[in-house]
Amino acid sequence: MPSLESEIDGIIETFTNNLKQRKFKGSRDLALNSVQLWKKIIGQMKWQNARELMDAIKQIGKDLAETSPSETVIGNMTRRMLKIVRDEYAMLQKGKQEDSDLQESLQKILTADEVDFDYIENIPLLKPAIMEHIGEFLTELESSEIDISVQALEHIHANEIIMTIGYSKTVFAFLKTAAKDRAFQVIVAECAPFYHGHKLAADLAEARISATLIPDSAIFAMMARVNKVIIGTHSVMANGGLKAVCGTHTLALAAKHYSVPFVVCAPMFKLCPEYVCSLDQDGFNQFASPEEVLSNDEGMLVSRVNVYNPIFDYVPPELVTLFISNTGGNAPSYIYRLLSELYHPLDVLL
């Protein structure tokens, strides 16, 4: 009979293998799967108190994050789990703690109230409370796409021209919901060299939404007639900047030039408490095979030129007009506040 530990190791290994083979479809799928993984781990693992559990979560979380450093969602989910443990512990421990007290603040420095929990008390009720909380969180994740798309009618008006880039499930759901009541036109930038835009255009056409496909180089030319840009993103950084598919920065700058509102659909689990400095491309970007840009068939040429095929773009917060998350619309300058509610400050650095 396999011991409990090796069983947990087994689950983790299956997950990391799936991750390496890119079996997850999109970041929501990844978020759901990683929370389900955490649910299993926390349920099966033996722990005496919250401190032990949190240390274990941190350790496993670190390993998971290292498997795929550019997937910020994994780190975010680890932090959410830690936050859930902290919240439930604080709640059961006399129910005295409110969220704001956990924050580091000037007030705390002044009053010198040591609210540092040691998390060592053994509370039997803690485990069921945590499991229930994780269950609620899973429901929230599952419904996040719908929660965003129900806001569509507030943002898309009749006969508007919307521009988007690449393929985002959230954006597609958003457009589809709006199309139930309003007629509008969508211009899709194809997003070379992966051409995810082709798929979006096809899907839109199938949903009977008028779609126009353009090459990325035509973004600026088309922008003059666009009423709104609506895009998805890979993650939202702590300063309100975006880590989004390559080409988004071009799109954002063109939108700024013509003063077109630049709206980003991003569910809460994409909010990442890390800061990125735009100069640090090595730590931020990921590079795909150059095959799509310059095919290996061009033997002679391939050996003579450098080919880069970056996946991400950093978009500074001043180019974003609005974030639409599952809880509502927010300005980029408000992201810091959402982050302080989502994660505990001590967990930001895993």
Partner: protein, 306 residues
């Protein structure tokens, strides 16, 4: 009168003898000293004494903005400790003293914290521009160079009229960090070659803007025009309850040294010592409370003073 002289001497003694200590902390320590030496008289008398001492310290020739923020924080500290609920003044004083020590100890920890947050933003091979002399900028550069083993180059403006930039350069030389002293007027000239701007602050105001050595605003304007990130490093005890809208809005006692104001000369002929940099020019603020966007500053102040 005897007593107030002592206050100023005590304060200036700290400022001169311990160059590592910020004016705000020196002010708080002075007020703590008053609290300790104050006889067992009435609370009313104590608060009167503290108020007088604050006024007195504002006449010193140092960063008045920092003194103001430090004193405001101390006043708030007294009300928040709950010591005032005690029935007799002796107990009340004991609690204040005890809490005050914890408070001061926490203030000591702020600068290393900021340095840790700021250092990862400095990358290998970068060129950094800084203005005047700031203890927290120095510590962050030290952390990046010595602990994180980064190699970078620092440009420092001379920062007239007191040439404090030259002092900053001496400190960097001691740390073996490569640096160049430049003219204040060469700010625009070097801006195209630098990667980021790091400055300290004498005070952080409610809007998220900063009050700092004159020339900071110019630097922020240049950085914005050239699309360079403009980072501010400041301890949270420098948050001050002011909301200036423009340069003219800054109180006179912050802009000019008290000796200048007392001399009665026409202030229009005098050089201001500080300027106000609006939040729109600041990329991020690094504080001991974490990395903040300018809009997060008012949140912190509201939490404290509401």
């Amino acid at each position: 009168m005897e007593n107030t002289r002592n206050v100023l001497d005590f304060f200036q003694n700290i400022v001169e003898k311990e160059p590592e200590v910020s004016a705000a902390v020196a002010a708080i320590r002075t007020l703590m000293h008053i609290l300790e030496t104050f006889g067992d008289r009435t609370l009313r008398g104590l608060s009167e004494e503290l108020r007088k001492a604050t006024e007195e310290m504002k006449t010193a020739d140092c960063s008045i903005t920092s003194v103001q923020s430090g004193c405001e924080l101390f006043q708030r500290f007294i009300t928040l400790t709950g010591a005032l609920d005690q029935s007799n003044i002796k107990e009340c004083k004991d609690i204040m003293k005890e809490r005050g020590e914890i408070f001061l100890r926490k203030l000591q920890e702020t600068r290393p914290k900021i340095a840790k947050l700021g250092a990862p933003f400095i990358l290998d091979g970068q060129k950094i521009l800084t203005h005047s002399k700031s203890r927290v900028v120095l510590q962050t550069l030290r952390e990046a160079a010595l602990t994180s083993k980064k190699r970078f180059h620092v440009f420092i403006t001379e920062s007239y009229p007191d040439r404090s930039g030259a002092l900053m350069r001496d400190e960097l030389l001691k740390l073996n960090i490569s640096s160049t002293l430049i003219l204040d007027s060469a700010m625009g000239y070097v801006m195209e070659s630098v990667d980021l701007v790091l400055v300290g602050a004498e005070g952080v105001v409610e809007s998220g803007g900063i009050i700092n050595k004159v020339g900071t605003y110019t630097m922020a304007l240049c950085a914005k025009e050239m699309h360079k990130p403009f980072y501010v490093l400041a301890e949270s005890f420098k948050f001050v309850r002011l909301y200036p809208l423009n340069q003219r809005d800054l109180p006179q006692e912050l802009k000019f040294s008290s000796s200048t104001i007392k001399s009665g000369s026409n202030l229009l002929d005098q050089h201001p010592q500080v300027d106000y940099t609006p939040p729109g020019y600041i990329t991020l603020l690094f504080t001991d409370l974490g990395i903040l966007t300018p809009s997060a500053v008012s949140d912190e102040l509201i939490k404290l003073y509401l």
